[in-house]
């Protein structure tokens, strides 16, 4: 167990493993995404209430779900890097931020586009939408903070602290926003929840969610590998690697 942690902490090992992992996970993710999206886009029958616009769900929901999970990945990595002083956890945290931000952005945009035909508006202050917006700000905050530091060693730690504080707060924020929304429940239709998803739509949806998870992992690892090289530039193994890469 500890030896495993130890290994995780060792850059060359992580670099090698992530490389071999990417080699088969990346194509898999790509294929899954291709199948899932085209399935949802072209091969399912339209929703009886929303017509074809619901096909956006096959991106919207997976991105939203993965974006949420992504914040916890980032925060846990930050915590580990602070508590156990594991450098690679720090790398993971830094790598997770842009990926999560991009997915959150997608969830918001696709949702917003979806909202136009379904509710006749680009934007509503629904609870989940609002918390998603806040999540985007949390992600961007981490990125901006790191960018703002000249001394990257300090910057990474600062981000870890911020991410950690964010984790403590996210449940509170979510609960409070949910509850705030329930306070002034608008007269119009209840947005989520009763969208009864027909089983024929479920399979492609699950496939898409799985595909997005896989894609997230790939992007995360790829970002980590770059950061690892940058940090280990003074070590023998990186110099060898660079020599080979010629």
């Amino acid at each position: 167990m500890w030896s495993f942690f130890h290994k995780l902490g060792s850059p060359p090992w992580l670099f090698r493993i992530s490389g071999s992992l990417l080699r088969w996970l990346a194509p898999l993710a790509f294929i899954a995404l291709l199948i899932g999206l085209s399935w949802g886009l072209l091969f399912t029958s339209p929703d009886f209430r929303q017509g074809n616009s619901y096909r956006i769900m096959f991106i919207h929901v997976p991105t939203a779900v993965v974006a949420l999970a992504g914040y916890y990945v980032m925060a846990v990595a930050g915590a580990v890097s602070l508590i156990w002083r594991i450098k690679m956890a720090e790398v993971a945290m830094l790598a997770a931020a842009p990926v999560g931000a991009a997915l959150t952005f997608l969830a918001l945009v696709t949702g917003s586009i979806w909202g136009r035909p379904t509710w006749g508006t680009w934007w509503v202050w629904d609870a989940r939408i609002t918390s998603m917006l806040i999540l985007l700000f949390l992600y961007v905050g981490v990125i901006a903070l790191y960018e703002a530091y000249d001394n990257k060693a300090s910057g990474a730690r600062a981000c870890a602290v911020l991410a950690l504080v964010g984790t403590v707060n996210i449940p509170i924020i979510y609960k409070s926003v949910d509850w705030w929304y329930s306070l002034h429940q608008p007269a119009s239709i209840k947005f989520f929840g009763d969208t009864s998803i027909h089983s024929s739509m479920l399979y492609p949806l699950f496939l898409c969610i799985a595909a997005f998870y896989a894609l997230y992992t790939c992007a995360l690892l790829a970002n980590m590998r770059v950061e690892i090289i940058a940090r280990e530039r003074r070590t023998k193994w990186v110099q060898r690697l660079v020599g080979e890469a010629v």
Partner: protein, 234 residues
């Protein structure tokens, strides 16, 4: 070594009192900076009648929200500089070097800032509440919630200030860092006042705020201390 022990001999209480006096004196030396949140407060509240017409029945339902938003913005304005000048003139280094636990040394900073923003606003809020035709039933709850909420916002804001203290352009970044964390405070605060107006009990909301406050008070200074050590190292 004598020096070390000596350093610890000093009772922590006297030291905290000393720092507190320092902070208060500093804020008294620039009265307008202290008054600025209030000024801003009154200026903004001038806007709301403009937006929705000055009649009481139109203003009243929004009064609580408006007051709370402004309090939040005022706090945001002030908190950014809580550590800045000490960093720039090197006093912060002294603080970080002192043998006493940084956890406590931060407290006076927070307390002084809380007094000069939250305390002040809470004190004056009844006047503004009257100006916005807030149902008088809500006023005491408003004051209490502002006091508690300002505490949380001060601690969270100080964390943001500490994280950005080393960067010679903190101004807008800090907003991005701390505003999301202000959200629950705002929601509970407004809800409490509105509940009181509606004749329900505001206790649950106040106790929620109190919970947030004490949680922040327990954990906040730890994070702030760590953040200061990091920020000062840039």
């Amino acid at each position: 070594m004598s020096s070390g022990q000596q350093g610890n001999d000093v009772s922590l209480a006297t030291l905290l009192l000393l720092i507190l006096r320092r902070q208060l004196l500093l804020s008294l030396r620039r009265p307008v900076e202290v008054a600025q949140p209030l000024l801003f407060f009154s200026l903004v509240l001038l806007m709301f009648p403009l937006g929705i017409g000055p009649t009481a029945e139109r203003l009243a339902p929004f009064a609580a929200g408006a007051l709370w938003i402004v309090a939040l913005l005022a706090n945001l304005l002030a908190v950014e500089g809580i550590f800045r000048s000490d960093f720039e003139d090197g006093s912060l280094d002294q603080l970080l070097l002192s043998p006493q636990p940084i956890y406590f040394l931060i407290m006076p900073y927070l307390f002084a800032h809380w007094l000069s923003t939250g305390g002040l606003l809470a004190l004056c809020s009844p006047i503004f509440a009257y100006g916005l035709a807030l149902n008088s039933a809500g006023t005491p709850v408003l004051m209490a919630s502002l006091l508690l909420g300002a505490g949380v916002m001060t601690i969270v804001g100080a964390l943001g200030a500490a994280l950005t203290v080393g960067l010679n352009r903190g101004g807008m970044l800090i907003t991005l860092l701390i505003m999301p964390l202000y959200v629950p405070v705002l929601i509970f605060g407004v809800a409490g006042v509105n509940a009181a107006i509606a004749g329900q009990s505001a206790v649950p909301f106040l106790s929620l705020l109190a919970g947030l406050f004490f949680a922040a008070l327990a954990l906040g200074p730890l994070a702030i201390g760590a953040a200061l050590r990091i920020g000062a190292d840039n």
